[in-house]
Symmetry: C2
Subunit: 575 residues, 2 copies
């Protein structure tokens, strides 16, 4: 991973293949004079010296080899931030006030247990770290008097066992998406979990954040795929049992799912896998409007034949996708031909692009496609064919690189995602787009707000908004949080989820009490206090700091703190 | 409900329609001389006088009408036990040492909140009570110095709202299966949750125990159907949000699911519903063996066309079902005809009965049936047609009455259910049947052990054992617990679940620490202490009493106790 942005250090957004993009963006965002604002030079960054508490290196040295313990600046820099917009703003400027003091690389569940035991009596914080792709501040160290140790699972990526008969794989938590799929494919299996961060994010990170992938409509979210898990806590290891279903009290798997490293370290998990699907079919369609697309998705989702993948882009996002295509490229060329056939005249003036994908046996794919086709037709979906679908599939993992490209040009680009019931989808969509555009206008900016639907459920859908504008020099962070607050409050006021699959981290802390009620939050804090009485694990994330209480047992929790940049709850924007 | 047994007081097991049953049972269980052991006469039962702590009636009277508060013996008797075998043994003898002192009948979520607030400062225990069908002691009061108040949700059975577009119904927790289906059917919808206790059990009870129904393979367990829930706790109400999916921390719904009334009272829930399926198809098949049936289930489950219902009975259970049929009845007559066609000669000597059912649109039912048929054929399934399926469907809710009939004749009849991965299904089946039969033999008894598979998952299945023998006069309870321990330890030692859908209650307490690890148990105890600091709610259930600790905050929990009849963990039976 780059220290200053997304992905492979050797790879940047392929701007040369999308010559139309930047001119379009300049026009869309009202940028007259462009100015490059690159990240600071690596050499200019000086991290504070590692603060290593007494006894720590000796204790770690007793359980880890020398090459498993690093106080190297490169490692510390790489583990200082995730990939949220404020993370990148800061790291590109070289602002790294709270790097971890040490990064450790255990190689097994047993070593993680040994580390946790070793540091138990010391003044240490432990931050579990998977791929570092978190975009809500979930792995960021904060101000602390204690030694901050980031526990990277980079060297725990093995497929430990496969039960082909039951369709179960036990995998180390540090395995990335490609590592998982490659090791399973050798045995003829697939997990089928493809979040946008797939190339870098890890099984443990997915579990810790309740991740959803592109084919979760068919295979289920990570919480549906998880059968059992090992969590190393300060109070001992919890290894849930590998059984298909149970009614032995509340499901502990579900306490681990979404715990964001605050209860302990997820080291291994047993997940449902399926044979590598022999057939695959991904196609693009154009809908006359986002509304037509939503109606089609709703009807398909409530039929008995659900595709593996449905992604519906609104007109603004469709426009971006068209612009990103090179003139010679698949989709663009196709659309040129289609436009030539008087698309506009047939009502596709501001069309919505829909990608529909199937995976499975040839018969299963064919049956489901056959069931879905008449529904799509009824809603006016114009088939763009498989090339449009494959083109989308091929390029989907390039999108995160786009933000770095835009930030190079001084743009704010971020996303806000939520889920709501079907009846709320369009009202929420209209309100969020209108509120975003109004706020851009009131800030004197030309802004861009788009939306796609990335996941559907029988009961509703996930709405994923992208918004962009020029940065406001000198006020980049505040400017960003204005929009963060706007969208988040709008979601909550419209009966939508605080977050659908990005988790809480630091960014969503201010709304957690509203989201899960004071009693609910206290119950989770009680779990934290039980499993992590010293508050060692990923302090300050997921569960907002509790008000100071008289109880001595919770004295330590007073040390939890929210970095000052996290917004406090604010009233809904005036509209 | 009968005070002494299952179901409608006006209804008993229709023994006159099954003349072959008792002679067969006598032979099977080695009963030479039959003796009727009926329940004691109602008039002979004297409950202890209600113990009402000072201020309680005044406080309750301020929030409830007079007809919502009962210290009547009839109500107290009905709320003294669930329907487990030891419950029935005791109640039939008139042994009711711990009746509730008071039964209250709130009519709304608001009234439940008012009750909880009203009793907060008093020496009171609250036991939430749905249909009273629990068979693990989950609603039984125990020894206590405090006033025991059973909070019955009988008067909270309304459908509160229906969102047809999103397929969501909000229903009061006291609604029974028939109440739910009837009120939904009026609006064209169905929940599709059909546990064996369907006629009496309630939505709140299903949630509290993580229930599974006969069609859960298709519609999901209650935990999959639940979208949001209201839980009234001593620390305030937790109302989770009605969103399709979320990643805002660990899922609080899943803390409520399986909490068995120990965290608070479930008052309302929003659940996924679907349009009343216009088509339905239930058929019977005969397999040459249980093993063939398991292989068929495994293959079907891992195909893309899963039936709504698959129930596979082993040879012993199939024999019982055949015996229960009247000579003129559907299945028996059919089998007579089939036997006439030399069934035995074709290898169906000790056949396994498989019921396969579909619900949905006609096209969906037809498509899935078409996909499943060749798999069944490949495994030698002999079609018995729809009459066999319908006959089974019609009579399924009569089965619970059978236990009362057998108990009248001095027989022990109980069940033990679990789930395990596919690879473990047959080994566990063989071991459990062998161990059960061996234990009967070593007790000098002729016993009956049978098994059916009631639910399947991509990863495994639920095994549901039924066992019966003569009672041992004077040792009925100990005798029973010998088998309970035998099966439970065998499940745990063979990697199977402590319980698949019956929950923990009192009966499974001794194994909870082994099931979820000490740290996991402590985490749930911490939730309990946070939501119910005074230990008011359903004390002693689900979470085994914690060892006494020095912490003052948990002083109250020392009062939790397990009735002496609950078995303590014992070593695995010698085999």
């Amino acid at each position: 991973m780059k220290w200053w942005g997304w992905g492979d250090p050797g790879k940047v957004f392929p701007a040369e293949r999308t010559p139309a993009l930047w001119p379009w963006a300049k026009h869309r965002l009202g940028i007259d004079q462009e100015e490059l604002i690159p990240p600071v030079a690596r050499e200019s960054i000086r991290l504070r010296r590692p603060r290593i508490c007494a006894g720590l290196l000796e204790k770690l040295g007793a359980v880890l080899a020398a090459d498993q313990i690093s106080s190297d600046d490169e490692e510390r820099l790489l583990h200082s931030y995730g990939k949220s917009y404020p993370d990148l703003l800061r790291v590109r400027r070289g602002e790294i006030p709270f790097p971890p003091d040490l990064v450790v690389f255990p190689k097994s569940h047993g070593e993680v247990e040994a580390i946790v035991r070793a540091v138990a009596s010391l003044e240490v914080e432990l931050i579990p770290f998977g791929g570092g792709t978190n975009i809500v501040g979930g792995i960021n160290p904060g101000a602390s008097e204690r030694t901050i140790v980031t526990l990277s699972l980079r060297r725990m990526g093995r497929l430990l066992s496969l039960d082909a008969e039951s369709g179960l794989a036990t995998i180390e938590a540090g395995a990335t998406g490609p590592e998982i799929e490659e090791s399973l494919a050798e045995r003829g299996f697939s997990l089928g979990h493809y979040p946008d961060s797939f190339e870098y994010s890890t099984l443990g990170g997915w579990i810790a954040t309740r991740s959803a992938g592109m084919q979760s409509d068919a295979y289920g979210r990570i919480e549906d795929l998880l059968v059992s898990v090992k969590l190393v806590t300060a109070a001992g290891t919890i290894a849930t049992r590998t059984v298909p279903a149970s009614s032995a009290g509340p499901d502990l798997n579900r306490l681990v799912l979404g715990s964001e490293g605050t209860f302990g370290v997820i080291t291994e998990a047993t997940v449902r896998v399926h044979p590598v699907p022999p057939a695959r079919d991904v196609r693009g369609y154009l809908l006359r409007s986002f509304e037509d697309g939503v109606a089609a998705l709703h009807e398909i989702r409530r039929s008995s034949a659900v595709p593996n993948l449905m992604r519906l882009q609104d007109a603004n996002e469709t426009e971006l996708i068209f612009v990103m295509k090179t003139p010679g490229g698949g989709l663009k060329a196709l659309l040129h031909r289609l436009f030539g056939r008087c698309l506009r005249a047939r009502g596709y003036k501001r069309p919505s692009l829909l990608i529909v994908g199937f995976e499975g046996t040839p018969a299963d794919v064919q049956n489901r496609r056959k069931a879905v086709r008449p529904i799509l037709r009824r809603h006016g979906a114009l088939p763009l064919g498989q090339r449009a679908g494959e083109s989308w599939s091929k390029e989907k993992y390039d999108i995160p690189y786009l933000r770095d490209f835009m930030m190079d040009y001084g743009c704010m680009v971020d996303v806000a995602e939520t889920s709501c019931t079907w009846g709320r989808v369009l009202p929420l969509y209209y309100r969020a787009v209108a509120a975003g555009e109004l706020q851009f206008k009131s800030n004197g900016l030309k802004g861009y707000v788009s939306c796609h639907i990335s996941h559907t459920y029988p009961t509703g859908a996930c709405l994923y908004f992208t918004y962009a504008s020029r940065q406001i020099p000198g006020h980049e962070i505040d400017h960003y949080y204005g929009y963060k607050r706007l969208f988040t409050r709008l979601f909550l006021h419209n009966g939508a989820a605080l977050t659908h699959h990005h988790a809480v981290g630091l960014e969503h802390l201010p709304w957690m009490e509203e989201e899960i009620a004071p009693a609910g939050l206290d119950a989770l804090r009680a779990v934290k206090a039980s499993l992590d009485p010293e508050g060692i694990f990923n302090p300050g994330k997921c569960l907002p700091p509790e008000p100071v209480r008289e109880s001595d047992a919770r004295e330590r929790s007073r040390e939890w703190r929210t970095p000052s940049s996290v917004p406090s709850p604010s009233p809904q924007p005036t509209r």
